[in-house]
Symmetry: C2
Subunit: 175 residues, 2 copies
């Protein structure tokens, strides 16, 4: 594989590959440093998502707080940094929810999704390239936005479905 494009966020490699099964084909791959995303769950069970302008779609997209893993960081370290930078929050409890491969057909990016609870204020410095607007809401409102197709971001859809599943499993308090 040869590097055919190098940018600040990703590079592109291209080449003719001999793959298991006897296929020889040209493949182009986006090389990305991988990302983390965080589902912050407050003491009152509300969650915080962010809206952010995404030029690929020329619109504001509702997503989990998220970001790239910097060189030398573990996914958990990156998640802690992003939660502080994007929401000014820390968390005493971190749980790995799910790792997803957004586009295995052409990108090597993986996104590790964490669930953060026992939140506390922990001001951080936002990335100057980003204008992020947090929105805190009940899970039911986020699930409704998903049904209305206002939330379509893959990591966010996965986290909302996982969180809904978890809450529907919680023991029902005795009547």
């Amino acid at each position: 594989m040869k590097i055919v494009y190098e940018g600040p966020v990703f590079s592109v490699e291209s080449g003719i590959l001999a793959e298991p099964g006897g296929v020889r084909a040209r493949r182009d791959i986006v090389r990305h440093s991988s990302s983390v995303a965080i589902l912050p769950v407050h003491a009152d069970k509300r969650i915080t998502l962010v809206t952010q302008y995404r030029c690929a779609f020329r619109q504001q997209i509702i997503e989990l707080p998220a970001g790239r893993i910097d060189r030398g960081e573990t996914p958990l370290q990156a998640a802690k940094r992003e939660l502080r930078e994007e929401l000014g929050l820390g968390a005493r409890r971190w749980e790995r929810l799910q790792r997803i491969l957004p586009s295995p057909g052409y990108s090597d990016e993986a996104v590790t999704i964490f669930r953060a609870t026992e939140l506390f204020e922990s001001p951080g410095t936002p990335d100057p390239d980003e204008r992020i607007k947090p929105i805190t809401m009940p899970l039911s409102s986020a699930v409704k936005l998903m049904r209305l197709r206002r939330i379509q971001d893959a990591k966010t859809v996965v986290a909302l479905l996982q969180e809904k599943k978890r809450r529907s499993k919680s023991p029902v308090p005795p009547r």
Copy 2:
């Protein structure tokens, strides 16, 4: 934005953008023709997934049958073609399950996920660039593979969680 790379599957655009909120920043975007994915549910309620070598990860990845939307196709037409090409199946019932944006931060790809039922044999010609191995299994086995991190593909995780939610909602037969 200027095209800085053009390949058979995607191109890359780059430029300095003035975005709402007053941010001026360099952005690189992968332009992709978007995709469809299909969750085929058999009469006995088993589902069919596929394993496929993905060079980005140098391993076999378990995914929904899926593929790019060709020029002039609607997502549903593409889904019908892919189900025939990859599994040799047709379906009498199609339902739009979810549309996801795999990586809105750097790619304009959207994946429309369909649920296909009332399946019948309908042989198609597989893509010569692909070696795809179908696996038919109960939903519970696929959910277990997800828990064991053997299934991490985003569209597949979303479809499995949606299908699990749907089945847990189905009326319980009276005892």
